[in-house]
């Protein structure tokens, strides 16, 4: 029998109403960066707010200042350059991504992943920058963006930087961004001919679900032989961050897409995954599902690649 002096902890508090905070609407990125640095570590960026407000209401973060990015112009555009690829502003909503005819025709897997996220009203608020900046291991968009070799553009006190998307993820809920740095846009290079990409997400129910396991696969098949010229496999929800399953990719490369190789790749992907058991699913189930989902994603990507074009 322990004798505990118990203070009402934030984690159990019923946060129905948000606590007050300092609020800023910068007009430029430079202003936003400055405010972030001045306000310190308890200052957060507001993009769509669908994740941030939930965490505030649940008492999961202690927020003293909110910096609303939506007053800054030019951060929500989708622009296609036929030669190089697609530029997506960080404040682009998930539903804009899903409904964009540019995205649907050039990168259907991205529109598909966007269309699975949350629910329509959430997608109308949530943004791409917010989703990636949240650094959730279960991000529905990360695997698709990763197999498309997406690059991230940020801006901040040290100026503009660009790097592969996956390097933004440090650990669950943490990015590699420095204080004052803001994600500004995403660049998705042009997809090669005879490529097909698919995203398979395993959830629990039909709508408003999150990924127990998410697998994106991109295949590029040689026009002449049908051999796998490029294979990229990315996994969500089965590691501290979204990861590329490189050993699985190696099983598919430079050879025909046979049943045996698909099986080997699926098994390898499962071995590369490091899922945990949590209240949603056990680690062993997730591992088994990586195998099943990878296989299904490969088969879907093959069909799409075999259709002779990017669609």
């Amino acid at each position: 029998m322990t004798n505990l002096y118990y203070e009402y902890p934030e984690s159990l508090s019923v946060m129905k109403r948000l606590k007050p905070f300092a609020y800023f609407e910068p007009a430029t990125l430079a202003e936003a960066s400055k405010i972030l640095i001045d306000q310190g570590s308890r200052a957060y960026l507001l993009a769509g707010g669908t994740d941030l407000l939930v965490r505030m209401k649940r008492g999961e973060i202690d927020l003293s200042a909110l910096v609303n990015l939506k007053g800054i112009d030019g951060m929500n555009r989708i622009e296609l350059d036929a030669e190089t690829g697609l530029q997506i502003g960080a404040l682009t909503t998930i539903s804009s991504l899903e409904q964009s005819s540019l995205v649907r025709s050039a990168y259907p897997v991205l529109a598909e992943a966007a269309g699975i996220l949350g629910s329509p009203p959430i997608r109308n608020l949530a943004t791409l920058g917010g989703n990636i900046g949240r650094a959730s291991p279960a991000s529905d968009l990360a695997p698709a963006l990763m197999v498309l070799m997406t690059r991230l553009l940020i801006d901040g006190p040290e100026g503009k930087k660009e790097f592969p998307l996956e390097s933004i993820f440090s650990r669950p809920g943490k990015t590699t961004l420095n204080p004052g740095e803001v994600i500004t846009s995403f660049f998705v290079p042009k997809m090669v001919v005879h490529s097909g990409a698919a995203y398979v997400r395993l959830g629990r129910r039909g709508g408003m679900d999150c990924a127990l396991v998410g697998v994106a696969v991109l295949l590029n098949l040689s026009a002449k032989s049908g051999d796998v010229a490029e294979a990229r496999i990315a996994l969500a929800s089965v590691a501290p961050v979204p990861i590329r399953a490189r050993k699985a990719e190696a099983e598919l490369l430079s050879g025909p897409l046979t049943e045996e190789r698909i099986q080997k790749a699926a098994t390898a992907a499962a071995l590369e995954s490091m899922p945990i058991s949590d209240m949603r699913a056990s680690a062993s189930y997730r591992k088994e599902m990586v195998k099943v989902s990878t296989r299904r994603a490969i088969e879907q990507a093959r069909t799409l690649a075999g259709e002779g074009n990017n669609k």
């Binding site: 948000l18 007050p20 905070f21 300092a22 649940r58 329509p120 009203p121 959430i122 608020l125």
Partner: protein, 160 residues
């Protein structure tokens, strides 16, 4: 710290004083007394708080009031005009799509947003558009029937 914001709600212009931590839902229910929009969970998981912002459904419990400044917001109260029910309100009644009615405003607004864009939406599109609203009474089947009935040009529907 209060902010003065201008916004339009149901075609009426308002100038309101809000605190930054006030959500759009709280503004609508507590300041404007438009209680047709409901708080079912406060976390965007149930959809009962859905309103249309510039015609698009959003979870108003996850939108700050300050973010609604300069915007056009439509709640369920806007749909009836001069005592005449909107076709969706009418079809929800006729098809038995209303049981306890708590999710009804959100379902109707989500459907309105869909039909305004895509009047011949078929069952798959309707399910997708309404997937953000939970109905514990389980009226889904009749809700779909009601949206189909309210859609344009009976008979022809978008392909599944």
């Amino acid at each position: 710290m209060k902010f003065l914001i201008d916004l339009t709600v149901n075609d009426e212009a308002y100038q309101l004083e809000v605190e930054p931590q006030t959500t759009l839902l709280e503004l609508l229910r507590n300041q404007l007394h438009l209680t047709g929009t409901k708080e079912g969970c406060g976390l965007g998981d149930c959809g009962a708080c859905i309103v249309l912002v510039e015609g698009k459904p959003v979870n108003s419990c996850l939108m700050l009031a300050v973010d609604a400044k300069g915007r056009e917001v439509v709640t369920i109260e806007a749909l009836e005009t001069n005592g005449q029910l909107h076709p969706l309100q009418q079809s929800f009644l006729e098809k038995g799509a209303v049981q306890c009615g708590f999710c009804t405003p959100a379902m109707i607004l989500s459907a309105k947003s869909l039909l305004d864009k895509s009047p011949r939406a078929g069952e798959m599109e309707i399910k997708e558009a309404l997937s953000g609203v939970l109905c514990r009474c389980g009226s889904y089947k009749k809700i779909i029937a009601a949206v189909l009935a309210a859609g344009g040009e009976k008979g022809e529907r978008n392909e599944e």
